[in-house]
Symmetry: C2
Subunit: 370 residues, 2 copies
């Protein structure tokens, strides 16, 4: 891997991602100021993730808005591969989806792909990924979704509904397509080869166009879906992509649910959060306080600052002050970390309460075959 | 294709099949006289399809009998790819399965793979293959199965039960395996690539070994299943293979449901049967009656005689008389065809009555998820 190289696939993210390059590589569109303004205008509100280009790229977002302005609603769809507990990075598209749902008053589907994680992780059993699916669903519900317009799909539980749609998609995709898009080989198991058609299926669950807020690593699946859609008489899914939450250990790779120490889980205790941030969060500061005061820190590579920017400090003024103080050397790394720890733990205290409450609500959210 | 060459895959049978060569090619076992005797002894009865080597090959049939003699029952499983109406050739393993079920008092599962035929036939819609699945189920029920120990599985209807089992299988099969066994290429659609794991699934529906009576063209699927079974902690399926029903047009290829004129459907009227046999049934007779009387016919290549042998004349004495009379020239082709036409139409008259009655019974047979 050369220094400027990076890998982004649905199952593997590695290296420091150059998002402008990624846009070119994937063939998506950058979210222009104009598009950002347009969303803001139609939504009647702004979202810091849009303002800060946490959502940075899209496919056909303008089409979705054109139709919406004509009175033709879309629906929302996103999901999660339940290989372990939810981490903070997973919440980005869910939080943004909730905002979109509130502003545009549309239906939402959330897919938990227990089969995918079973196929892709050698050591995981199907019962385990299914158990995590239910655990992850709690995090989703805790964000405030309402069961009246939001349904949770679990692949092995809802295969009766998904499979006939997936079959239509699967008939139009061959192994060459799969190799080209995912880099699969002759050693790839046939569950993984088929799986993408199940991730496509929820795109066609309603007779409306779909908008998918998602981590950009999932884009390849929907590139295939977009090729297939017109061939089965369906609208192409529109996408809006967020950047990957960096690992605590810093630039290069997304936060991964399988590497415990470099990841903040929604189930972490305040002590664990404190320890992880203090011990592992990559710092943009100087080797010692004296130098830091003199030279200042680099918030642009500091993971604690990135976490505040991406998720935990929605207030632009407050964020700017942290940026400036850290850069000037007025704020040292310990202080920056303390701010983040407090923000995370405040968030998790509330989230974990809602998460437990969600255990009683989950049944209403589960997609039921008619 | 050289003259002695032939192709046998689950989706394509071509050429004149040399069944001894096929046994070597597939790596199965010939049914020896000894095994045939053993089955007869344990069953307490004989079946003409076994006696005449219509069932000619097997895998692990002795193991099934060993366990049965120890008091450990097996269960039966066979199926059909519903690409059209049922033809006579499809009935061979079903009739034999019914006999096995009666003699061994075991459960039976019948799988209708509507998804497979959708994936493999460019021009068929899923609604069409599903419609044919229900039509084919009527033929199966008409053979006298009882709903108390027999269940019908339709892939798209029972995917909720099948998929988790198929997923266990799929995780253990890669594209190299699929290429080697089925000759698939990079152009094969991912539905087809995944499908074999769904044909494996019913093998593991009960915690007992399974015995599968089936056309030998389906063997490749279960070669894969047999490789996978021990790796998921399950017993290998045992198989007992029948030869393919020849096309009306004669040696070379099996009867195909997609070539109307060379196939007798269970839904054909007596007039249609008469016309098809008289017009298309390949004859082993001489060019004219005078020569036939003098030289005699060749029953071994005569399709009408083969149909009697394989399905329509269970009485060995009666069959032998036809053989001898045709061979000596005493019986001419028109007479032989007339015998077959009468046999088929007698069978179909009764079958079609039972087939209509099955419409009211089908619901009791359908596998219901608990």
């Amino acid at each position: 891997m050369v220094s400027d190289d990076f890998i982004v696939t649905p199952w593997h993210v590695q290296g420091e991602i150059d998002y402008d390059k990624l846009i070119k590589r994937f063939g998506t569109q950058k979210i222009s100021d104009q598009l950002s303004e347009r969303i803001k205008k139609i939504a009647g509100d702004d979202h810091f993730m849009l303002r800060r280009q946490i959502f940075f790229s899209h496919r056909d977002m303008n089409k979705i808005l054109d139709e919406y302005e004509k009175g033709n609603k879309f629906f929302l769809y996103t999901g999660r591969g339940p290989s372990g507990h939810t981490h903070i990075g997973h919440l980005i598209p869910w939080v943004f989806a909730k905002w979109l749902q509130d502003k545009f008053d549309v239906n939402m589907y959330f897919q938990l792909t227990d089969d995918e994680k079973f196929f892709s992780k050698q050591n995981l059993k199907l019962e385990e990924t299914k158990k995590f699916a239910f655990e992850n669903a709690l995090d989703f519900i805790a964000l405030g979704f309402k069961s009246k317009n939001t349904k949770i799909i679990i692949d092995t539980e809802n295969i009766q509904m998904l499979y006939p749609i997936a079959a239509e998609v699967a008939k139009k995709i061959n192994f060459s397509n799969i190799k080209a898009v995912f880099g699969f080989t002759n050693d790839t198991n046939i569950g993984m080869i088929f799986y993408t058609s199940l991730q496509s299926a929820p795109c066609f669950i309603e007779e409306k166009p779909v908008l998918i807020p998602l981590g950009v690593d999932q884009d390849p699946h929907f590139r295939l879906t977009r090729d297939v859609a017109p061939r089965i008489g369906k609208p192409k899914p529109a996408l809006i992509h967020n950047i990957m939450m960096p690992s605590l250990e810093g630039p290069g790779g997304k936060m991964s649910a399988s590497e415990e120490n470099t990841t903040i889980y929604t189930t972490d205790t305040p002590e664990v959060v404190k320890k992880k941030i203090n011990k592992y969060a990559f710092s943009g500061g100087q080797p010692d306080v004296a130098q830091h005061r003199k030279l200042g820190g680099n918030p642009d590579i500091d993971v604690s600052y990135q976490y505040l920017k991406i998720f935990f400090e929605p207030d632009d003024m407050a964020l700017k002050k942290i940026y400036d103080d850290y850069k000037s050397g007025k704020m040292i790394t310990g202080e920056l970390k303390a701010i983040l720890i407090e923000k995370i733990n405040d968030f998790l205290k509330d989230h974990q309460k809602k998460r437990e409450k969600a255990r009683e609500q989950i049944d209403k959210f589960l997609f039921k075959d008619s």
